[in-house]
Amino acid sequence: MDSYETKIYIAILIGAAVLGIILLYFIITILKHQRRAVKFHEEKILAEITTLEKERSRIVADLHDELGPLLSTVRMQLNSLETPLQQDHILIEKASGYLDNVLMRIREISNDLMPQALSRKGLITALLESINELNENSGLQIQLVNSTPPEFSKDKEVHIYRIIQEIINNTIKHAGATKMIIEMEPSTSQLRLKISDNGCGFLLTAITSENTGLGLKNIMSRVDIMKGDVYLDTSPGKGTLYTIEIPL
């Protein structure tokens, strides 16, 4: 009897162990799968963003190197026409005006796509230029505080620039703010970026996974790529504070 009981116990124990191993195997497989899915998702986003930035740079290069100079040449040639007729003068002036508008739009479009300041002079110069422009032409007054961030790679600088650009766009579109402060707090391990506005704010619960605006999604994707964190602090009537931590 004793040996019979022992046998049953051993059988149960073996059964439990086998079940445990199977369960463990499943859990590990699921975890692995999940990790792989996350990694795949991250890689996909990175690939998408890289392609996007590359494509933007290519379009800008085409605009800068081909269309712009060509239009400038056409404008100059048009202006070197010498005609005694008053009507022709008016026509030339009108056509030049249109060409000026096209050239201005080319500059604006290429600046939106990839600011020259960002590739030539880096993050701070690009930010200052864009802020100067907005301070003059929009109802929002932006102030950049402590503008000495640590040295980042070119890619990271583009991400940080785009994140700030997206937040500014969101603020202009939805917040009705008049003031915005962009603060950079560098430390030995990370850059903390604090962006606050005095706008209308919003209910955080209004943001659900399905309902996240494209702007916010873009911000989060870029922060994820840099292995950083975003904290959003806002409520109706209280303005919005984004805190973004980017590891060095």
Binding site: H64, D65, G68, P69, L70, S72, T73, R75, M76, Q77, N79, S80, S96, L99, D100, L103, R107, N111, P115, Q116, A117, R120, K121, T125, L128, E129, N132, E136
Partner: protein, 221 residues
């Protein structure tokens, strides 16, 4: 050109050929201007300047091989008498700041009229400055925001604080070893810095560094 007074000798640099040729034709018609040469990049322009000795250059900023800022900086450090008018498709703040800090005396965007271009050439030839309307407005704002200093000596900020310190020690006739001891650096590191300074100042010898430092207010005597 045959009007009894000397014409202003002008060279043009722009990497876009149709624009360069168009510009040549347009301003070449003016009696007061003589186009003495043109180039598709900065390096070729320096060659043209050496050979033809122009009074004024009309210079595109973004060019391959050697851009407009580098050319201007080179001319300024060599104390060349050639006056630079930047002619760019863009009026981005950083381009204006860079080229003016490098030593350009005029800035036009490419939709400038023939008259504006001629005025700019004449203004810089007679030691004045000339900025087109949109650039003037930007400059006023940049100066007001302390982002641009019109009295800025040539490109001090192309040197790191350490390089400036080492240049000042060089001017005090200190040896590499003495500088190293003073700054807690190895002699080899100081040599590295000295080499960088030689490159940045376009000089060949220590005397060149000293002249550059004094001329640009890095070392005061």
């Amino acid at each position: 050109m045959l009007t009894g007074y000397t014409s202003i000798k002008v060279a043009i640099a722009d990497d876009h050929e149709p624009y360069r040729i168009g510009l040549k034709t347009m301003i070449g018609k003016s009696a007061e201007i003589e186009i003495v040469g043109d180039a598709a990049n900065g390096r070729d322009l320096l060659r043209v300047i050496d050979e033809m000795n122009p009074d004024v250059v009309l210079l595109d900023i973004l060019m391959p091989v050697m851009d407009g800022v580098e050319v201007t900086r080179h001319l300024t450090t060599k104390a060349s008498s050639v006056k630079v008018v930047a002619l760019s498709m863009f009026n981005d703040d950083h381009l204006i700041i860079d080229i003016l800090n490098a030593g350009a005396k005029g800035y036009l965007i490419k939709n400038a009229t023939k008259q504006e271009i001629l005025d700019a050439i004449k203004a810089v030839y007679y030691h004045h400055t000339y900025y087109c309307r949109s650039t003037s407005m930007k400059l006023a704002r940049l100066i007001a925001n302390n982002q641009f200093d019109p009295n800025h000596k040539v490109e001090k900020d192309i040197f790191s604080p350490k390089e400036i310190e080492i240049m000042q020690f060089i001017c005090k006739q200190m040896t590499n070893k003495e500088i190293g001891d003073r700054l807690y650096l190895s002699t080899r590191t100081v040599e590295g810095y000295r080499q960088k300074i030689v490159e940045k100042t376009n000089s060949k010898t220590t005397a060149g560094i000293v002249i550059y430092a004094i001329r640009n207010g890095i070392y005061k005597i």
